[in-house]
Amino acid sequence: MGLIQRELERSGIPTVGISIVRDYSVKVKPPRSVFLRWPFGHPLGEPFNVSQQRVVLAEAFRALCGIRQAGEIIDLPYRWRRERYDEADIHAILAPCRREKGPEA
């Protein structure tokens, strides 16, 4: 995934990746990543857990808007199980994306 992400970014498209293998992201160095220590095949969480999936996607967008250091990996705090997700969290997560402009280069 990281290799494709790098090529898109190189072609002029800003990208963010959801990583579940931190070592891989460290080596391949995609421009922006959020990392979750979650099982393969579950980057956005569990089937039908809509709030969980929305939170992860919101975190990815926050990273897209907020990361200023090329190659940064944001370690998300969510455990695989026993987390609660709600809409208020999503609103707060997305706050930095609601500014007028994206980050300056």
Binding site: I4, S11, T15, D23, V28, Q53, G71, P103
Partner: protein, 171 residues
């Protein structure tokens, strides 16, 4: 099913259940250590961006050819995904991770419905018309094909589609 495919699916199931084993397994196919990090700044507010998704989860429409699971070095080709078609037109061909859960709810690897919600809610400006899917287990000479040919092709198609930003998801 061939022994080769059976073995890969078995490994996929084991490392999905026991993620601690995965790091050792993955180390062997982390393709290289990059030096530089490409960078394109996001210059528009997210609420004005056309957003596309690119996945390596092996997603494709049922009427598209599946990814090649018999080549041990993977398949560097891609499939264009049309979000205007119903969710059940999509399926996964990928033996290198356990996609039983993703088969039940594709959003955990390819969050089509979540992105549609974010579009309706104005979080993102617009969802792109075409999204792209790869099969993420690629090694050997196919890495060169991916980096030099198919990934840049997808970048070109995204740009033609007016895409301002892309979200990438693994399998």
């Amino acid at each position: 099913m061939t022994w080769h495919r059976f073995k890969n699916r078995l490994i996929a199931r084991v490392i999905t259940r026991f993620p601690s084993l995965a790091s050792r397994f993955v180390e062997s196919y982390a393709p290289w250590e990059s030096e530089d990090v490409p960078w394109t700044p996001l210059t528009k507010p997210l609420s004005a961006c056309t957003v596309a998704m690119v996945t390596t989860a092996g997603v494709h429409h049922r009427d598209q050819p599946p990814f090649n699971m018999t080549d041990r070095e993977g398949d560097p080709s891609y499939r264009a995904i049309d979000f205007t078609r119903p969710m059940d037109s999509l399926m996964i061909t990928h033996d290198y991770y356990d996609h039983k859960d993703a088969d039940r709810d594709l959003n955990i690897v390819f969050p089509v419905e979540r992105l549609r919600e974010f579009e309706r809610e104005g979080v993102i400006g617009r969802l792109a018309e075409r999204h792209y899917s790869f099969m993420g287990h690629i090694t050997g000479p196919h890495i060169v094909t991916l980096v030099n040919r198919t990934a840049p092709e997808v970048a070109g198609l995204l740009k033609q589609g007016g895409v301002d930003a892309a979200v990438l998801t693994p399998g």
